[in-house]
């Protein structure tokens, strides 16, 4: 393997676990290492072999991070996000739109690339995140069950066609909060500050998806669409669109910030 290929591979692998700034720092150190090694009369091949595979370098760096604890705030935020996901948006469940809340974990996967390092090694982090999600899911289910037992089934099980503007607004707020908590939890887990544009983008995608789904379900009921249903459909779409645009604009600022 030649130097440039080695460094490109190293950079790609580092970005999965570390921030852009830290990645650049490590790659710059290894670039120096190659230059000084070459000046010392060693070949690129020899230097690559001495370093090991890029994946092994990343593993060594992560191993040195071992022993740092999980910030409790991260667990709390992820827990809140999951409770909101599983307990609150269920009025949509009859129409099969509740699965859209699964976009939140997908957003989390996207963040793996975009946000800086987690202070704990991946297996520990995964165990904590899964444990948090599971306990929150159970809590969410318990909330539903208690609600149904207390005669609140009409409130929790109402189909989207019957969602009034107030309930729709409440659900939008709940989904926004879930997106915010998720991003905040991830940020805490990675020891960095909350990246608002990512939070907006995630919430925006969810809102737009929910709005689109409701719109598709209403196409056969034009009368219902006009009588009070309009805000239910358009509100999530409008919020989603505005947030996506805001994120697209602010994204440049995020890039500028990480490039420093």
């Amino acid at each position: 393997m030649d130097r440039e290929r080695f460094l490109a591979q190293l950079e790609r692998k580092l970005l999965w676990h570390f921030s852009g700034a830290r990645t650049r720092e490590v790659v710059a150190d290894y670039r120096d290492y190659f230059e000084q090694g070459k000046a010392d009369g060693r070949t690129e091949q020899e230097l690559c072999e001495a370093c090991g595979m890029p994946g092994e370098i990343v593993r060594s760096l992560l191993e040195e991070e071992r022993g740092k604890c999980i910030p409790p705030m991260a667990v709390f935020c992820l827990w809140c996000a999951a409770v909101l996901c599983f307990a609150l948006p269920l009025p949509c469940v009859r129409e099969g739109t509740a699965w859209l809340t699964l976009l939140l974990p997908l957003g989390g996967l996207y963040l793996r690339r975009e946000m800086p390092i987690s202070p704990v090694p991946p297996p520990v982090r995964r165990a904590y995140v899964l444990g948090t999600l599971l306990s929150a899911m159970l809590t969410g289910m318990a909330v539903q069950w208690l609600s149904a037992a207390a005669g609140g089934e009409a409130a929790w099980g109402v189909p989207p066609q019957e969602c009034g503007p107030k309930l729709s607004l409440l659900l939008t707020a709940a989904r926004l909060m879930a997106a915010f908590f998720w991003i905040a939890g991830e940020a805490r887990l990675r020891g960095t500050r909350v990246q608002w544009p990512l939070s907006f983008l995630l919430a925006g995608i969810i809102e737009a998806s929910v709005g689109l789904d409701l719109l598709l379900h209403r196409l056969d009921t034009p009368a219902g669409f006009l009588s009070g249903a309009l805000p239910t459909v358009l509100l999530p779409l409008a919020v989603g669109l505005v947030l996506c645009i805001a994120a697209a604009i602010d994204r440049k600022r995020v890039d500028a910030w990480t490039a420093r």
Binding site: D29, Y33, G37, D40, G52, E56, S60
Partner: protein
């Protein structure tokens, strides 16, 4: 030798070398690599980074006698305290091994 033990020795050696003179990464890797069996350069580099993250060392850009600009390392007061602590542990360990006659 246990890898954690080796890492402890490498940590002490790095702090000692940086404490004696301000130096750069390649020089440190070159002086240590091959001296401790089974200790690869990438592991030494990762330990060097951790020492910096923990505040035991700090970096600055510098040159020596007109050479290229390099990232140099120097010891901080926290690093000196850490080195003292490691040396005391090492001394106690060495005495114990000697007493056993291994």
């Amino acid at each position: 030798m246990d890898s954690q033990m080796k890492k402890g020795v490498v940590e002490m050696a790095l702090l000692w070398m940086i404490g004696r003179e301000e130096t750069y990464g390649y020089d440190l890797l070159g002086r240590l690599s091959g001296r401790i069996p089974g200790m690869q350069e990438r592991v030494i580099y990762a330990i060097l980074r951790r020492l910096c993250d923990n505040g035991y060392t700090e970096t600055f850009s510098g040159t020596v006698s007109g050479g290229p600009v390099r990232k140099y390392y120097r010891l901080t007061p926290a690093g000196q305290a850490r080195l003292r602590e490691l040396r005391e542990s090492w001394e106690a360990l060495r005495q114990f091994v000697e007493e056993l006659g291994i």
